[in-house]
Amino acid sequence: MPDIVVPIKQVPDMERVKFDTEAGRIDRSSAPGEINPFDLHALEAAIRIKEKLGGTVTTISMGPPQAESTVRDSLARGADCGILLAGREFAGADTWATSYTLACAIRKVGKYDLIICGEKTVDGDTGQVGPEIADWLDIPHVAYVSEIRDTGEKSITVVAEMEDDRLVIEAPFPVLLTVTKDLNMPRLPSFQDKMRARKAEIAKWGAADIADVADPANLGLKGSPTRLNKVVIPSEEGRKGKVFRGSSAEAAASVAEALAGLGVLGGAK
């Protein structure tokens, strides 16, 4: 009966969030926080394995106190227990410090056969935290998993997407997977599930709670080897912006002429 850990992140709804182009940042208040969509596929995979083989599913999230709602949502969707890592010491972490902190928390949880992560988060978009967690824990990982072929008591067989190739990989436990959106269709929690999750206990850990396993020098901004120098808002300069209106025949001819002039024609099948 595998024990499964699913690291999750609260992200803004990227399809709805407004962007402050002046300040060069997203306006997080413009859209509610939700579980990173990729993590939903990881959670669904974990729950399906639990339904088949038993075991446990634990979610862990690092974030601000309001990320508690995201952990609660994961319980409504079928996780057995949720842990929120919140505290000033964790703030400003890059992927290296984030993965370190999550790996320490997973170590503190103790037993893990499988760790399933989303391929990346929709806000950070790095895809680095999963493989880095695996390295901290000194276990192998398989990235870009689009299919789980078989899960046994001691190993899992998955399909990893490597652009032109699909590798079928048998991985003994413990192993970490990062999964794509093709893996499954995450279920929606029922009203009863949500009510149950509302009352559930969520463990909240600060830096002091993981001090036995985590070096404080590696946490948060202080522990992060990368720094944001600045953000730059791209301009759309350099585009010709030549718009044709009126007769579609004339416009089509003019554009075809222009494209021919640029040398982009000639590849016809």
Partner: protein, 327 residues
């Protein structure tokens, strides 16, 4: 770690089936430019088995030195053996910068190496510059390409994965030579067992030179036939926006945008799509953008080189005919 001990720029040269992936040549091109500003050496590290003359290609594209680790276990992507040997080589050579292609292999491997070395890693860069103090400024799009983040690394080596088809490779020059440094491989337990290799088949839209992409302006699935006809005339492939995939009209492999594929073709034809920020994130770096839309206020016109305001059902067939006349 003493930063002054780290010198030179190293490119991880990815090979598949014994052939170097073109992103590695792009990294050598960019690496050569950055290294010449700093007066440092550009090296490549390649793992494989019996690569033969393929190793010389790395010199032809700009490497001055190649660290070559040859072993049957390294022929394909063996995660733990790749990591173990590259970490060894980096610890030995101590380059100040290490670049990886942001392929699936690179994005799976590089984080493990960064974690193991205790150094920073910046994902999916689209530009690299040398900063005031000779450090590497790593530039990557964030939040759907609405901003570019400039990132520096306080540790060494400075590591980044770099998006494919963004940097320019040098022209292949067979007169270039360099030194091959054979590195004795150390083989560890692979743990993971590749039991089968299947062809992904299907479309790799990111490789296409011309993409004709349709959005909600198309009324039914079958109307994509007119886009296919234009794509055929242009020697390209058909893409679509997310709503089209949600409708089930096209496979996700065709989807361009934030939650689909990022593309950078020579010509991008946007048909009947308004140009949401999420869509623009996936195609704004295309060389030439042509937009066809009946709504002159559609945001797609703001990023387009050419625009035709009109009914796509009229414009697209006419454009296909005009293109055929000229090619």
């Amino acid at each position: 770690m003493n930063i002054a001990d780290y010198k030179g720029l190293m490119v991880f040269a990815e090979q598949r089936g014994g052939k170097i992936h073109p992103v590695s040549y792009e990294l050598l091109g960019k690496g050569t430019e950055l290294a010449s500003q700093l007066g440092i050496e550009v090296s490549a590290v390649v793992l494989g088995n019996n690569l033969g003359d393929e190793v010389n290609e790395l010199f032809y594209y700009g490497a001055q030195k190649v660290y070559y680790c040859d072993h049957p276990k390294l022929a394909g992507f063996d995660l733990l053996n790749y990591k173990h040997n590259i970490v060894r080589i980096i610890n030995d050579v101590k380059p100040e910068t290490v670049l990886f292609g942001a392929t699936h292999l690179g994005r799976s491997l590089a984080p493990r190496i960064a974690a193991a070395l205790g150094t920073g890693l910046t994902a999916d860069c689209t530009a690299l510059e040398i900063g005031d103090e000779g450090n590497l400024v790593q530039i990557r799009p964030a939040f759907s390409g609405n901003i570019f983040a400039h990132i520096r690394t306080t540790t060494r080596p400075q590591m980044a994965t770099v998006r494919y088809k963004v940097m320019k490779s040098l022209p292949r020059d067979t007169s270039r030579t360099g030194q091959v440094v054979k590195v004795e491989p150390e083989i560890v337990d692979s743990v993971l067992k590749v039991v089968n290799k299947e062809s992904a088949g299907g479309l790799n839209i990111a490789e296409a030179d011309v993409i004709v992409c349709g959005g909600r302006g198309l009324k039914q699935a079958q109307d994509f036939d007119i886009l296919t006809d234009l794509a055929d005339a242009l020697g390209g492939v058909v893409g679509c926006t997310r709503p089209i995939v949600d409708e089930g009209w096209m496979e996700k492999s065709h989807q361009v945008g934030f939650s689909g594929n990022t593309v950078k073709p020579k010509l991008y034809v946007a048909v009947g799509l308004s140009g949401s920020p999420q869509h623009l994130a996936g195609m704004r770096d295309s060389d030439v953008i042509l937009a066809i839309n009946s709504d002159p206020s559609a945001p797609i016109f703001k990023v387009a080189d050419y625009g035709i305001v009109g009914d796509l059902y009229e414009v697209v067939p006419k454009l296909a005919a005009e293109v055929r006349q000229r090619s």
